[in-house]
């Protein structure tokens, strides 16, 4: 058992990494579950790219500075989210096309800005994160974002579920449809920014979507999915960090690959809608 516990007991940087990853796991996975249920899984990916120019501007202004890059990332993400939503609501362009247009513009801008200044090492930090070098400020930020996310989701749970399941009905009984949609996109952006501190912009989406996708094969209720997804994300974080420690692997990809393993196992063996249920069905019932 020592290989399981010692790395975390002996090294402060591993404890910090664990805390950071668990915070992300708790905050990002419920957001991922709702992304999945709204068939917006790829929106997370697009948003992650959209954040890049903001982080790059922060980086250009202040160097590898957490605060500046966070503010820049959140600002860029929110601008893209609001523009996308506004175009989808007020023109005939659908949300997916509108988002694709804005995130591509945003991404090109980001790559341009990053390449203007900065070494490849810094760029690697932005792209792949620094989970083993989280300082106090970063940890505080991650935990704060998780808290804000969980409290917000708890507050708007009913309108959010309704906006996913029957948006037209929500519009017929209240004015929540627009606000809850934008609030949700805001949470997506916040959690991606949290994720890129630790896992990098490209990997941050993984911890959001993979556990949610795995959970779909185990649970048939939203509550069940949220619980399974958070558990998968937390266990993946521990497994990824341990693999990273013992085998000298980069930690971000190790964590996401752990989550990916859970997803593949769920895909094959999960009780609900999986390959096993499809190809080896259990005996049917009387009624």
């Amino acid at each position: 058992m020592s290989w399981l516990i010692d790395p975390f007991a002996d090294f402060a940087f591993m404890q910090r990494a664990l805390l950071g990853c668990l915070a992300i796991a708790l905050g990002a996975t419920p957001v991922g579950v709702f992304l999945l249920l709204r068939r917006m899984s790829l929106t997370g990916d697009a948003m992650a790219h959209a954040i890049l120019p903001g982080a790059a501007v922060g980086y250009l202004v202040a160097g590898l500075n957490l605060g500046a890059m966070t503010i820049g990332g959140v600002a860029a993400g929110l601008v893209v989210a609001v523009l996308t939503g506004a175009v989808a609501r007020f023109t005939s362009l659908r949300e997916d096309a509108s988002l694709a247009a804005f995130y591509l513009i945003s991404l090109a801008l980001g790559v341009l800005l990053v390449s203007l200044k900065g070494s490849n090492v810094d760029l690697m930090h932005v792209l792949f994160g620094t989970v083993l070098a989280l300082d106090d400020a970063a940890l505080t930020l991650l935990c704060a974002i998780t808290t804000v996310t969980l409290v917000s989701l708890a507050l708007v749970y009913r309108p959010l579920v309704l906006e996913c399941a029957d948006p037209r009905f929500l519009r017929s009984v209240s004015r929540w449809s627009g606000p809850v949609h934008f609030l949700f996109l805001g949470l997506v952006v916040l959690n991606l920014v949290a994720g890129f501190q630790a896992l990098g912009t490209l990997m941050a989406v993984g911890i959001m979507i993979l556990p949610a996708a795995a959970a779909r094969f185990w649970a048939t209720s939203i509550g069940g999915m949220l619980a399974v997804a958070a558990t998968v994300a937390a266990v993946s974080s521990v497994a990824g960090l341990l693999a990273s420690y013992h085998a000298g692997l980069p930690s971000g990809p190790a964590i996401i690959l752990s989550a990916g393993t859970f997803y593949l196992l769920s895909l094959v063996f999960g009780p609900s809608g999986s390959l096993a249920a499809r190809f080896w069905p259990r005996a049917h019932l009387e009624t």
Binding site: L37, V156, C164, A165, R168, F169, T220, S221, I222, G224
Partner: protein, 250 residues
């Protein structure tokens, strides 16, 4: 007056789907909207719900609370919700966005399910329901909405006779409770039997009033004749609003 419509034009890309419509619906009336495909029936209901802004004219809703069953519901039936949770959404006016469901609320959900013949379906996921059962669930939710004005867009289409009869009984119960109901229907015989009032619509109002005076052979023929033409180069409509409508606006 549950609904007052004056010189209403609704449309898409400037082409009218409902053209210069005047309509008064008395409180507690039970009205069928009848007309050929493309006559603007669904568009009119969308307009009443505020989903589509009028190109011209006004809609005044006298009813405090309006419930709406669209023809193409956007319900994501793969969404992991139980029948109970889904129907409980109809209690939004009691719970709002944040309020919890009390024991009494859950009892109300049970009663609504019983009224549409789905007792015991509470824990069933909505993904496991048949088309007819989904429509029963939609009616249970409408029941809980406790609305003064209820708009139904082809509520009985694609239902078997038993389900249609059960849900028609729910509509008649609403009528008995003094609620105003406006339903788009295609089954002329059912309209004659069960709906006291009818609006015959063919982009413009053909007739509105007691069903037997509206559904005459002549009126139905006129409704069919009204063209569904859609001319890209149509001229701008300059028809002046009818005189009574102008007085109503003054």
């Amino acid at each position: 007056m549950a609904l007052r419509v004056r010189d209403l034009t609704l449309g898409y890309d400037r082409h009218p789907a409902v053209h210069h419509l005047d309509l008064d619906l008395a409180n507690g009336s039970l009205t069928a909207i009848v007309g050929p495909n493309g006559a603007g029936k669904s568009t009119f209901l969308k307009g009443v719900m505020g989903e589509l802004p009028p190109l011209e004219g006004r809609i005044e809703r006298g009813a405090a609370r309006v419930a709406y069953l669209p023809q193409l519901s956007e319900v994501d039936r793969s969404f992991p919700l139980s029948v109970q949770a889904f129907v409980a959404m109809g209690l939004w006016h009691r719970t709002g966005a944040f309020g919890g469901l009390s024991r009494a609320d859950l009892a109300r959900v049970g009663e609504a399910l019983a009224a549409v013949g789905l007792t015991g379906f509470e824990r069933r996921p909505i993904s496991a329901l048949s088309g007819g059962q989904v429509q029963r669930v939609m009616f249970a939710r409408l029941l809980l909405q406790d609305a003064d004005l209820i708009l139904l867009d082809e509520p009985f289409t694609a239902l078997d006779a038993k389900t249609a009869a059960d849900l028609l009984a729910v509509v008649q119960r609403w009528h008995g409770e003094g609620r105003t109901v406006l339903a788009v229907l295609h089954d002329i015989e059912a309209v004659r039997r069960h709906f006291p009032e009818t609006l015959l619509l063919a982009r413009e109002k053909v007739a509105h009033g007691p069903t037997d005076t509206v559904l005459t052979a002549e009126n139905l023929f006129r409704a069919r004749q009204m063209s569904e033409a859609f001319d890209d180069d149509a001229n701008v409509c300059v028809r002046p609003a009818e005189q009574p409508a102008k007085q109503g606006a003054a």
